[in-house]
Symmetry: C2
Subunit: 491 residues, 2 copies
């Protein structure tokens, strides 16, 4: 166990925070609630961006960029949206600083007050639909399939690195369609893209489903989400896709002429995934030794560490190591050769375990003699010695194996920690003592949902798409219910 | 000539603005000075990002992300920096909106006033060096070679799409070094990276040089810049790299222990390139038909347009077109097949000329019979008919040829419009009537520089690295000078 990490089983929250800091992923900045994403953490975000961007483009989307600032009045245009987003926002009121005549520093110039305050975007539906108004006239202008990579700000009171920060990075898709059916189809397509990304790249099994009315995006007719289960038994919403109906088109008066010449409001979707996913990635797979990164998102997939006693040995090992590095890189694998001589091999071993590098290759004098290397995998910590000649065939398969193993382990954990519950006492016991996903019947009312939340802190993660029709009684009120929904305490 | 474009020779500024709008690159947003970068314009930025990012990584840099907000007091810490940047800034003073009890909308909650105002970053030296303070203790922590892709805000009073906007996108590199020499070397390395990028990818010849003291970055010891010449004879600064000395390390108290155990302040550089480059790209190469894009940055390199009279012809042409598209894509070329039937071929031809697609392939019934295609290049507008079978060999070479031709044309223009001038009357005449780069002697004082600027609007673009030592007399004062500097009116 890494000595400087809090034990995961003693204090999960502290373990998580230690890990983010010690693995050099991110840190809190001097600005309240804003983090600095350090190079190692940002490299994971770059990998996430690259893969998602490919998937977005493969499904017909293009990128664009809309302003950071939104006029305050825009928030009042959509009735529900204003309640959800026009609250904890960063508000720009002035556009100039000037020298403080009385002191050393600078002060806000009272003469430079904006006529209308600007809000730093917490999400961009309003400013984007205000633009779409000028872009859309006829059905020929549709669909519009735009994504934006951007920073957004929500003035959160309690923040945690990656999981909840005042400023965060994300992508937000905003699409416009001629028909309701097409928009619903897009909403589904994108939640499936997120689910596929989570499972294939993040090795994170997810449950796809509808949000309850209470948990929907402010301004949406329907919100789809993917829910993942963390190792402490809490749920984490890992991506959402919203069917917005004609709400924003009506709010910003975006109408189009359809094929029959009739005027109608445009149908909309929006969908987003953020740097929060890095928090999910860390919490889902890591252990007391540090991060466990799925090879497909690991900034460094293989690290090579030389073990030597003198300069001669070091030089001989270097030659082999650089040859192996080169050969692996030709296979498209990212490799770091760490021959810094200010740290001992044992220190390096622990450091790359902490950083979750999937495969470690060590080469010592004995290996030179035998033409072997020692190869260790981060997920199971199992080591073996293999011939140098076989490494180019071995490593690609090993990386795939690690990726699958991490996913399977998380899937097994999800399965083991999903409960079908029909009695209130059992519901409370599991939520309070074990955690996990509790599949239970619910009478469909926001009132009951709120009462359950108040008594147990459990919320409805989602109503899974694949939850079968089944007659039952609400876990709380005993009223009739047609399907089970997913309850959990949640991040 | 595209009818909807203002003639370039009649009104260059209006031609530029028309072009940006009509080619669907960007538009002004409802927020003063902020633009919307539309998908076609953003696709060029994505190409710029991809190529620059590769070059940054090849020179040892990594990406990270620092907060959007900077505490107001940070700006006062570096004496020169405060004068340059703590002026026209967007200032966040509140963190909450609330319902207007008297009306329909929302108002800023007076209770939610920040203790210290936050400035939306105009550049990030201060917040980054405040972080580096905690990262750097010993020479072993150096160098730090970090780049950030981000949005920044400078409250410009007069804005123009891409060239000068309140919010813009850019990258900013911020590096920390143990020695002055290393930092100077880095400053030079990065201006050379920018120059190579401009010439190789943007097909834009540039002059590399030092900025005069007056034009330096606020807080820099030395600023290097690349200057490009636009078709109207004005200069455009296309990228800058700053040697910051120990100024920011002193302002934020960032010291390190060197190899000998001595404590010293850290040496710094910063360097940036922004979406302004898209404006340069447009202004340098385009003509009265529309954009002329260098193939290496063109979102679509080849467009294929079918010409048919009936459905049967359309189907037969489609088969050939899709086969050609597929074959070209396998060569790594981006191809669009435009078989929309709501616009005639002539309209499409004009539209893709407007959008600067480097190569257009047209296939009609006659081509089907003869196994040929008509191929047209955007830069020269020359058309030829070639056998279908030769297309996979022909197009890659043609794209290279177009790239080179655009660069050579711009180089020739730069050469033709660079003047060695020794008389004040000639200086004034060229600046006022012809435009271009004027290489003239200067006495080295800010006073003279200001006077020349006031009388002619010409500034010192840079003191070119390759301007040879040459005894002469200042063009304005007649005082002795050791080398010529580059004067121009500038964007």
């Amino acid at each position: 166990m890494a000595k400087f990490l809090t034990n995961r089983d003693d204090n999960y929250a502290q373990w998580y925070n230690d890990l983010v800091i010690k693995a050099d992923m991110a840190e809190n900045s001097v600005v309240r609630g804003c983090m600095v994403i350090k190079p190692y953490g940002y490299a994971i975000w770059e990998k996430i961006q690259a893969e998602l961007d490919k998937m977005f483009k493969a499904t017909g989307h293009v990128n664009a960029y809309f302003p950071l600032f939104i006029p305050k009045s825009f928030f009042s245009k959509e009735a529900k949206h204003v309640e959800g987003f026009a609250k904890e926002c960063a508000v720009v009121t002035h556009y100039r600083l000037k020298k403080d005549e009385k002191g050393e520093g600078v002060i806000v110039d009272p003469e430079a007050k904006l006529e209308e305050e600007l809000v730093v975007r917490p999400t961009s539906e309003t400013i984007i639909w205000n633009s779409y108004k000028n872009w859309i006239h006829s059905y020929r202008d549709l669909p519009i399939l735009i994504n934006q990579w951007a920073n957004v700000v929500r003035w959160e009171m309690r923040t945690r690195l990656f999981l909840r920060t005042a400023e965060f990075l994300w992508q937000e898709g905003h699409t416009a369609h001629a028909t309701r059916e097409e928009a619903v189809e897009e909403t589904e397509r994108m939640i499936n893209v997120y689910a596929e990304f989570a499972e294939k790249f993040m090795a994170l099994p997810v449950v796809r489903g509808y949000k309850s009315e209470n948990e929907r995006f402010a301004g949406a007719i329907d919100t789809y989400a993917i829910e993942a289960l963390m190792q402490d038994g809490k749920a984490l919403q890992a991506g959402t896709s919203h069917f917005l109906g004609q709400n924003f088109a009506k709010a910003f008066d975006v109408q189009f002429t359809d094929k029959t010449g009739k005027l109608d409001y445009v149908w909309a979707t929006s969908w987003g995934l953020s740097t929060r996913m890095i928090g999910a990635l860390i919490m889902a797979h890591s252990d007391n030794h540090g991060l466990v990164l799925p090879p497909k998102l690991a900034p460094i997939q293989v690290v090579i560490i030389p073990i030597y006693k003198n300069r001669n040995e070091a030089e001989d090992i270097s030659k082999v190591a650089l040859r192996l590095k080169d050969g692996l890189e030709k296979k498209g694998i990212s490799v770091k050769y760490d021959d810094r001589d200010n740290n001992k091999p044992g220190w390096k071993f622990a450091d790359y375990e902490l950083k979750g590098v999937p495969v470690r290759i060590a080469i010592g004098p004995r290996d030179l003699e035998n033409n072997t290397v020692e190869i260790a995998r981060r997920d199971t910590l199992i080591k073996e010695t293999i011939p140098q000649a076989s490494i180019y065939d071995h490593v690609p398969g090993l990386l795939e194996d690690i990726q699958n193993n991490i996913f399977n382990k998380a899937s097994e954990f999800l399965k083991q920690n999903t409960y079908r519950v029909d009695k209130w006492e059992e519901f409370v016991d599991i939520i309070e003592n074990r955690g996990g996903f509790v599949m239970a019947h619910w009478d469909g009312t926001t009132e009951t949902e709120e009462k359950i939340k108040n008594e147990t802190k459990a919320t409805i993660g989602c109503i899974p798409f694949d939850s079968p029709r089944e007659d039952g009684k609400c876990i709380y009120t005993g009223k009739p219910s047609k399907r089970r929904v997913l309850f959990a305490r949640s991040y």
